[in-house]
Symmetry: D2
C-alpha cells in the first residue's frame, strides 16, 4: 500500500541530464528551427538546416543514452517505471522540440507501444525497430470527418478482405504526424464488420504511407496553424490494398488495441502539460516582478498574488494526480488505472490552459505575440481537451467507476 510518488535516485540523475540537455542544446536551437519552418514553401518538407538541427540533437542524445525513456517496464529501455518517466516527460513539456530529441514524442511512443504489445515479429522487425531507432516516424489514423470523435464505435472507414489483401475505403482526418516526410507507417482503425457487436466491429490495420490509393487531401489547421512539417492530415483511402498480415492482433479487436494504446499516450500528454504549465508560471512570475505599473511591480497589484497562488496550487494538484495515475499504471496495470488516467486527462490540459491564460493576461499584448511562447502553448493545451477523447467522455468514465460502488450493474 506504499504509494511513492517521489523521484528515484536514478530518475533524478536522468532528469538532471535531460534538463541540461534541453536548456543547453535544445532551447538555443528552437527559435532557429521555427524560423526555418517559416521559410518552407512546400510546408511538409524539411529544409537542410531543419534536418541538421534535429538529427544532430537526436544523435547526441542517443549517444548520451538519453533515449526511449518511455519504454517503461521493458527490457529494451531503461525499464523506468511510469512514475519515473513522468518526471522526465514533465521536463520535455517545457520545450516544443524536446520530446522528439529523446525519441519520446507522440504519436510514435503510443504506436511503438502498440507494435511492441500486439504486433507480430514481422511487424516488429519492419516497423518497430526503425521507430525505436528514430529512423522513421508513424501516424495513428483514427478520427473521421463524419463521425463524432466521442463515440468511436461509429468509425466507418471500411476494410474488406479480398484474397490475401485488405482493401480500405474511406476518409480520416487529424492524422497527426502524417505530414512528416519521414512518416512511413500508419496504424489505421477500420470497420471490418459494421453489424458486429459495438466493440467487435473494428480492426486495426497497418498501412504504408506510400501505398497507392492513399491521398493526403490537406492539413487540418490548429487555430490557423498547419503545424508543419508534422501536420494533422486529412487523408482519403481509395481501394488501398495491404497484405492480410498487416492486421494487428485480430479481426474485431480494434478497440482492444486502441484501449491498450491510449492509457500511456494520454498520460504522457498530461505529464508534458504540467511542464508547460510550470514554464508559463515561470514566465508569469518573471513578468510580474519586472514590469511596473502605478509605481509598483505588477506582482503587488490587485489580485496578482491570488492569481499566482492559485496557479501554484493547481499545478501541484495536477502533478500529484498525474503521478498517482502513473503509480496506478505501475502497480495495477493500464486497464485498472483507466479511471485514474481519465482524471488527470480532464485536469491537466484544463489546468495548463488556465495557467497559460493567466500568464498571457499578465503580459498584456506581448503575451499573445511572437515574443513569448504562450500563444503557441495555449493552442497545444487547448487541443488536448479533444485529443484522445474529449473531457466529457473522460468524466463519463470517472462517474461510471464511482457509481459502480452503488449498484452491481453499471448505470
Amino acid at each position: 500500500m506504499s504509494m511513492d510518488l517521489g523521484i528515484t535516485k536514478r530518475a533524478d540523475e536522468l532528469r538532471a541530464k535531460v534538463r541540461t540537455f534541453i536548456d543547453e542544446k535544445v532551447l538555443p536551437l528552437e527559435d532557429e528551427y521555427h524560423s526555418e519552418v517559416g521559410k518552407l514553401g512546400d510546408r511538409f518538407q524539411f529544409t537542410d538546416r531543419m534536418t541538421e538541427i534535429l538529427e544532430s540533437l537526436k544523435a547526441e542524445s542517443k549517444k548520451a543514452g538519453l533515449w526511449n525513456f518511455w519504454l517503461t517496464d521493458s527490457e529494451r529501455g531503461y525499464g523506468l517505471s511510469t512514475v519515473e518517466y513522468a518526471y522526465l516527460a514533465e521536463e520535455m513539456g517545457r520545450s516544443h522540440l524536446a520530446a522528439e530529441c529523446f525519441n519520446c514524442s507522440a504519436p510514435d511512443t503510443g504506436n511503438m507501444e502498440v507494435l511492441e504489445r500486439y504486433g507480430t515479429d514481422e511487424h516488429k522487425k519492419k516497423w518497430l525497430a526503425p521507430l525505436l531507432e528514430g529512423k522513421i516516424r508513424s501516424a495513428y489514423v483514427m478520427t473521421e470527418p463524419g463521425v463524432a470523435s466521442s463515440d468511436a464505435t461509429n468509425i466507418a472507414l471500411t476494410a474488406e478482405l479480398d484474397g490475401d489483401e485488405w482493401v480500405l475505403n474511406g476518409e480520416k482526418y487529424w492524422a497527426s504526424g502524417a505530414g512528416d516526410p519521414r512518416c512511413k507507417i500508419f496504424i489505421v482503425m477500420t470497420c471490418t464488420d459494421k453489424d458486429a457487436p459495438r466493440h467487435a466491429r473494428h480492426s486495426m490495420i497497418l498501412v504504408e504511407r506510400g501505398t497507392p490509393g492513399v491521398e493526403i487531401l490537406r492539413p487540418m489547421m490548429v487555430f490557423g496553424h498547419d503545424d508543419a512539417p508534422h501536420g494533422h492530415m486529412h487523408i482519403r483511402f481509395t481501394n488501398v490494398r495491404v497484405p492480410k498480415d498487416n492486421l494487428i492482433l485480430g479481426v474485431g479487436r480494434g478497440f482492444e488495441v486502441a484501449q491498450g494504446r491510449l492509457g500511456p499516450g494520454r498520460i504522457h500528454h498530461c505529464m508534458r502539460s504540467i511542464g508547460a504549465a510550470e514554464r508559463a508560471l515561470d514566465l508569469l512570475c518573471k513578468r510580474a516582478m519586472t514590469r511596473e505599473a502605478f509605481g509598483k511591480p505588477l506582482a503587488k497589484l490587485g489580485a496578482n498574488y491570488d492569481i499566482i497562488a492559485e496557479c501554484r496550487i493547481e499545478i501541484e494538484m495536477a502533478r500529484l494526480l498525474c503521478l498517482r495515475a502513473a503509480h496506478m499504471m505501475d502497480t495495477l496495470g493500464t486497464e485498472a488505472a483507466q479511471p485514474y488516467i481519465s482524471q488527470i486527462k480532464v485536469v491537466a490540459p484544463r489546468m495548463a490552459c488556465k495557467v497559460i491564460d493567466e500568464a498571457m493576461q499578465m503580459h498584456g499584448g506581448a503575451g499573445i505575440s511572437q515574443d513569448f511562447p504562450l500563444a503557441n502553448m495555449w493552442h497545444g493545451q487547448r487541443t488536448l481537451r479533444f485529443a484522445d477523447g474529449p473531457d466529457a467522455v473522460h468524466r463519463m468514465v470517472i462517474a461510471r467507476t464511482e457509481l459502480k460502488k452503488y449498484r452491481s450493474n453499471s448505470v
Copy 2:
C-alpha cells in the same frame, strides 16, 4: 428615468438591411477574401481581387445609405443613439469583414471621433473627410513595448517642440491597422513633459504614415497570425518631424483625448462581441442537433443542455449590460458612463470567449480547424481582454466608483 433598451423602429429597419447585406453580400465573399490574403507574398498589400471585393462592397453599402452608423448624435450621419447603434454593431460582429463594409470598423471610428471632437478645421478637412468617405484608413498609436499597458501614464515616446515642428523619438507597437497600405494617418500618444503631473504629461499628435523617420519594424503576431493586411505594427520613430499644428486639443491634454476616444471605442468592440457569441452559440446548437454519438444527438448527452442554457443566459445578460451602458452614454454622456462601459468591457469578451470555447468543444477537433470560424473568433475575443485596457484596470474603475459612496475621497 425611462430606460428603453429596445430597438427603435428605424433601427430595426436598418438592422434588417444590415443583416441582409451581410448575409447576401459579405459572407459569401468572405472566404474568397481570406483565401486571397493567404496568397499574399508581401503580406501588407492588397491583391487586385481583395481591393475589388472590398471596394465594391463599400460602394454598394454607401449607395444604399448603410454607412457611418457609428456617428451617434451627430448631424453628419443618421444621428442614431448609441443604443440603436448597438443593435447594428451586434450584427456586424457576426462577420469579420462586415464592419469595414459599413465604414464602422476599429480603429477608424474611434479616430474619427477624436478628429470630430477635438480636431481643428484643418485636421477635419485633411483627415476626417476622407476617413468619413472610407477613402483612407488610420491608426491609433498608443502602446509601447517597454511600458505596462495597464498604466498609460508611463508612456515614454517623446515629442519635443523644435521651432514649428514636433520631433518624435521612441517605439510603439500594437498599432492596429498600421499595416494597411491605405492607412495614411497615425494618432500618436506622446510624452511632452515627463515631469508634469501624472495626467498632464502627454499630448496627442497627428503623424502622416509616410513621414521620414517612421519605420515599421514588424507586425505583431496575434496567436501566430499577422492579421494581414490590417496588421498590428511595431514602429520606430526616429527624429520624426511634423508641423506644430498637428497637435490635438493642446499640450498635456493627451489623456483627455484618450478618455474621450475610449468610451465609444470600447463599447463598439463589446457590441460586436455579442454578435460573435451569438454566432458561436448558433454553430454550437447546429452541431449539437446534427451530430450523433451513442445513438443520440449530442444535444441530448450529458451536460449539453446545461451548457446551452448557460451560454444563452450569459449572452442575454451581456447584451442587456451593453445596452444599459449605451443608454447611459446617450443620457449621461461618455464620461459619466465610464463605470458602466468598464462593466461591459470586462464582461463581453470574457463571455464571448466562454461561448466560443464551448462551441469549439462541441465540435471536437473540427471546432479549432479551418472548417469553422471559431478558432479565429476566439483569438479576436481573447485579444479584447487586453485591448483598450486589461480587465483588471476596468475592475479597478468599477470598484472605485462603488467605494466612492462610502468615503468622500476615493480610496
Copy 3:
C-alpha cells in the same frame, strides 16, 4: 419593440415611500421581532408583541396605501406593471419582514394569483378576500417526501371523489407558511388519475387547514432553523374530506394551475434576491472601508477591488435580466415569458449566494455570526436554488427553447 426597463414616475414615488417605510418602520423593529421569536416555547405561535409589531406595521402601510403591489395589471390594486413591481420588490428584499408588511409575501401572492385567476366566486369570497385584506395566510402544498421535486408528474398524494367530497390521502412536506397559526387555507396538488397522460393526472384542491385528518408532523429545518412561526411543514393527510367544489379549475388541470402560479411567484423571489444582494454588497463595502489590516483598509488589499467589481457587475446583470423577464411578462404574458423567467430563476439566487458569500468572507468570523444578517440571508438564497424548481430543470427549459429554433419537434 420598445423595452423600457426604467422605473416609471409613479413607481419611483412608491419606491421612495416603500424604502422610507422599511428604513424607518420595519428595520428598527426587525431585531426585536426576531428576539421575540427566540423566546417562543411552542415555536409556531405568536407572542403578543410579535402580533403587535406585525399588525401595527400592516395597519400603517395599508393606511398609507402601500399594499398589494403585486396585483399587477389588475383592477383591484395599483395596476402596476411587473417591471414596476420589480423595483418595489427589490426594496422589500433588503429586509426579512418587509414583504409581509405590504401584503406582498410568498406564498400568499402566488396563492392569491391562483384564486384570482382560476377560483370560483365562492373561492374568491371565502379565501381571496381575507387574503387580500391580510387577515389570513395560506400555504401551497406541493412537494412530497417520496418524489423527486424536479419532476412533478410523479406527485402521488391521492384525491378520490366520494359522493360530494374529495378524499385526500398522502404526505406532503416543505409546505411553507403552514406553521403560521394565521394560515387558514392550503392549495394542495393531488393525483386524481395516475393512469392519465403525464400532464393530466393532477388536480388542485383547496383544503382548510383545520380539516380532520390533516396532521402536521414536524417542521422541516432549513439549515437547522425551523423558520418559526412561518414554518415549512411536513403534513400527513389521512382520509381528509373536503367539498367537491373545492376543486380549482377542473379535474386533471393541476399542472395548468401550477404553471400559471409559478411564473409570477418565481420572479418575485428573484426581485427580492437582488435586493438581498445589494444589501450584502453594501455591508461588504462598509466593512472593506472601515476595517484595517497590514496598515490599510481591507478594500485596498489583494483581490478586494476585483471582488467588489465582480459583485457589482453580477448584480447589475441579474437586475437587468430580471427586469427583462418582467417586461416579457407584461408584454407577452406569463406563459410566453417562461424561458425568460427560467433564466433569471437560475441567475438571481446563485448571484445572491455568491455576493453574500463574498460579504461573509470580507467580515471574517463576524460575517457568519449573529452580529450580521449575512448567514441568514445566505440560507434564504441557497434555498431558492431548489424552491420552485431546481436550477437544472430551469436550464432544461432554457435549452429546449433555444434548440426549438433548430428542429420543428423539440428534442
Copy 4:
C-alpha cells in the same frame, strides 16, 4: 527524495479499527447525542446522557488503544507520522463526534502541541497531563472583535506585569470550546508591548477559565447555531490576574508559539474536511442512484455524471495535496512546510464546501433539512475558510514563497 503518500501497514490496521469504531459505536449514538443537545436549557451544560455517551465512548476507545493518534513523532503516543495520521483523521472527518472520542479534537490537539513543545514542566504536569488523559478540555483564545483576523499583529488585549502577576484586560471572541464546562484552561494571545517590532509585541499566557475577571459574554453563533455545549465564546477579561509563570516560552514570543501551533492544527482540519467531502459524495451518489425523475435515476439526468466526476477529481487532488503537505511536515518540519500547509488550507474547505453543495442540490429540499447531515457539514466547512487564517492570507503566503525564487528580498 522518496515521497511515499501511501498508508503504512500499521496505519492501515489502525484505520480499520477507527473506521469500525466509528461505524459501530459512534455513528449509532450521534443522533441521540444531538437530540440531547436539543433539550438543553442552559445550553452550555451536559445532560447526564450526554456525559454518559461521550465518556463511555472515550473509555472504550482509550481501552482499545485508539487514543491520541495526533501525537506524531512523539514518544508519548504511537509515534505516527503526519502522513499516517492523515489517514486516520480523514476517517474521523466523517462524524461530528468521532475526533473527540479518540482525544484528537480541536482545539485540544493544537493546545497540547503548544504545551508539549513550549510549556514548562509545571505547565505539562498541571495542564498537559489531564488533557492527554481526556479529563479536561482547553481553549485557544486569539481572535478579537475589534481587529481584522487576517492581521494578528494588531491583537490588542493587554497583559501587564504587576509584581508576580500578569494582569489582562480586553475582549476576545470565537474562543472555540470555551463554552464546554469541562474546559479548564485558556491559552491567550496578549499584547505585552505594543511599541515593539511587529512580531515581538505579543506573548502567550495561560489563564484558568475560572479566574476572577473572566466573563463569558455570549456564544458566537455559527450560521445561527450556538454549537453547544462546545461553543465559540465572546469573553471579557477585566483585571484578570494570573501568575507570572503562566507565560509560555517568553515575553514577545507569542507569534513564535502561534506559528508552531498552527501548522498541525490547520492540516488536521483539512484531513477531516476530506473525510467530510467523501461522506457528502457518498450521500450524493446514493441519492442519484435511488431517486427517479423523468423515468430515470437522477444519476442519468443532465450534468449529473459530470458533477460526480468533478467531485471525485477534486477530492482526490485535495487528498494528495494534503498528504504531500503532511509528508513535508514529516521530512522538513512544520516551518519549512508552511507554504504546503497553506496550499491545502485554501483547497480543502473550499473543495468540501463545493462537494457538499452539490450533494445538497442533488437532494433537493431534503439536502438542507434535518433528514441529512449536509447542512451542518456545510456550515462547518464554510467556517474553516476563516478559521486559522482566511484564504486570502494563505494565498499571500503561497505567492510570496513562489516569488522568492525571483528576487532575493521578498516582495
